[in-house]
Amino acid sequence: MTDKALSFRLPTPRNLGYSFNWVGRIGLLVILFWAVVAIIGPEIAPYPPGEIVNWDYFTPMSHDYLLGTDYLGRDVLSRILMGARYTVGIALVSVFLACAGGVILGMVAAVVGGWFDMILSRLLDAFNGIPSLLFGLVTVAAVGSSIPVLVLTLAAIYLPGSYRFARALSVNVNTMDFVTVARARGERTPYLILREIFPNILGPVLADLGLRFVFIVLVLSGLSFLGLGVQPPNADWGALVRENIEGLSLGAPAILFPSVAIASLTISVNMFIDNLPTKIRDRS
């Protein structure tokens, strides 16, 4: 051991144990690709996404319309590029809200403990007892569908899971010697949470955030597919599948490619998270 520690090693990602294998790299590439598309997609779209450009509907792939046209004769490629902004954007905002809320509450509950912890845990566990898609259906039924409502609903659905995960990790860290020492020093709760607990659960929490992102994309697409998510004339990928469902019996590209887009995003996030260096994933 001492030999290893003393010998000179360049602090490259590989030597520090932070390198990805090729499956993880492919996943990361696809994620970055869709992230870029979500930002610049509408600018590089060949046609305006809402405009009817061809009088023929469900046309196959052609030179003019790379991915064919949809049920109204709109360009599918442009609509997918625009849809990326809705799917990726809504899912990202909701996952950050869900995880930020869940992690903060989880750390506080673990450090404070007692009644606060017990009541909060019971309450949020109860919300875990509502199936996620159903939760979405009920809120959309109650207040109607708009993008802020979707973001908040999705965040609310996945907050309890994130809370549970963060709390379990924090409880483990909380019993460690350095936390006890900090407590004995007389440090206050905010310090304990921010400087002692948080840095030590960050890795697994980020991995959890990735998985939750996948779930949120799936539920969002499901809601949009049921016609209760992003409302026309805007469309995320789930809504694109829904509006072109009649092209299914024709095997139209208008229904294939939005599905492929969803699958490529969710599968690559899963691939990326599965192949994260263990140093990040299982830090505690």
């Binding site: 007892g129 159903l134 009920v138 597919f225």
Partner: protein, 319 residues
């Protein structure tokens, strides 16, 4: 096996938690559908209604009572089987749901009958020959199914079985029950889709449960004694993995609840989920409440069942 008093206390505790959860869930459903949308009387009568008419209807519907009393009244009605009346066609909700519930349960039942044996065989053999081609194919397939939305599995199934192979009708639910093959055809597509969705979870969990048992020292001992791989897994490991596997089955069946919503909508299957999705688009709140409660109760009971199996089958939890 004699179970001690503490086991039953653990079971009782779990049931009490389930009951408490149910109360909280029903409050959430009631709150979301009754209080969030604003004035129900106003919604029902439309924008043109006079304030007097709205006030009259509010009184008639009991909307002027405090929310907590209305919640208790609703809960009591629910327990007596009085689910209220639909806003849209003024029929009793219980009557609307009745047949639909039977249809949904049929779909869920058939899916369970198909998916449980398939998943057990695939999950156990994947664990038995870990790292083999079979295992790798199964792993990749299950991960793919889990990471795509349910409607995509349905779309793919339609593309493969209806469009390319031409075996089954595409999107229509045929109410034709004249012959056995007609019934088979009507159920095939929804059942295939749901089986894929549920089995993917079940196979993964079964495989994990068996592998965890294989990794224990006593199974390694069986291997060292020279037992064949099949004997080592089936005779030595499997009996101890039965608890976790049963737990996995109950947990994965809870994915039916989400899957059924999508599948019934796609295939136009006349079940509770389709009824609920339609009710959401017409904002028929009493109908939504009852359907939501049906789903929550089935979801909760499956999760609770999974936990109870885990408690009863694990001697270490008995203490």
């Amino acid at each position: 096996m004699l179970r001690s008093l503490t086991t039953w206390m653990l079971v009782g505790q779990r049931l009490a938690i389930a009951l408490l959860t149910l109360v909280i869930v029903s409050f959430a459903v009631f709150f979301a559908t009754e209080l969030l949308p604003g004035d129900v009387a106003q919604i029902l009568l439309g924008q043109a209604a006079t304030p007097e008419a709205v006030a009259g209807l509010r009184k008639a519907m009991g909307l002027d009572e405090p929310a907590i009393l209305r919640f208790l009244g609703w809960l009591a009605g629910l327990l007596h089987g009085d689910l209220g009346t639909s806003y849209v066609n003024h029929m009793a909700v219980a009557q609307l749901i009745g047949d639909r519930l039977v249809n949904s349960l049929k779909l869920a039942g058939i899916t369970t009958l198909v998916s449980v044996p398939v998943s057990l065989v695939l999950g156990i053999s994947a664990a038995m020959w870990r790292g083999s081609i079979l295992d790798r194919v199964v792993t990749v397939l299950t991960i793919s199914v889990i990471s795509v939305p349910e409607f995509m599995v349905a779309t793919l199934a339609v593309l493969i079985f209806a469009v390319w192979l031409g075996w089954l009708p595409a999107l229509s639910y045929a109410a034709d029950t004249s012959s056995f093959t007609a019934i088979l055809k009507a159920y095939a597509m929804p059942v295939i889709t749901l089986t894929f969705v549920v089995s993917a979870q079940m196979i993964r969990m079964t495989r994990a449960a068996v592998i965890e048992t294989i990794n224990t020292p006593y199974v390694e001992m069986a291997l060292l004694k020279g037992a064949r791989r099949s004997r080592m897994v089936l005779r030595h490991a499997l009996p101890n993995a039965l608890g976790p596997i049963a737990n996995a089955i109950a947990l994965s069946l809870s994915y039916l609840v989400g899957g059924v919503i999508i599948v019934e909508t796609i295939f136009n299957y006349p079940g509770v989920a389709k009824l609920m999705v339609d009710a959401v688009s017409t904002r028929d709140l009493p109908l939504i409440q009852s359907c939501a409660m049906i789903f929550c109760v089935s979801y909760l009971s499956l999760i609770t069942l999974a936990d109870l199996i885990a408690i009863l089958s694990n001697p270490r939890l008995r203490r």
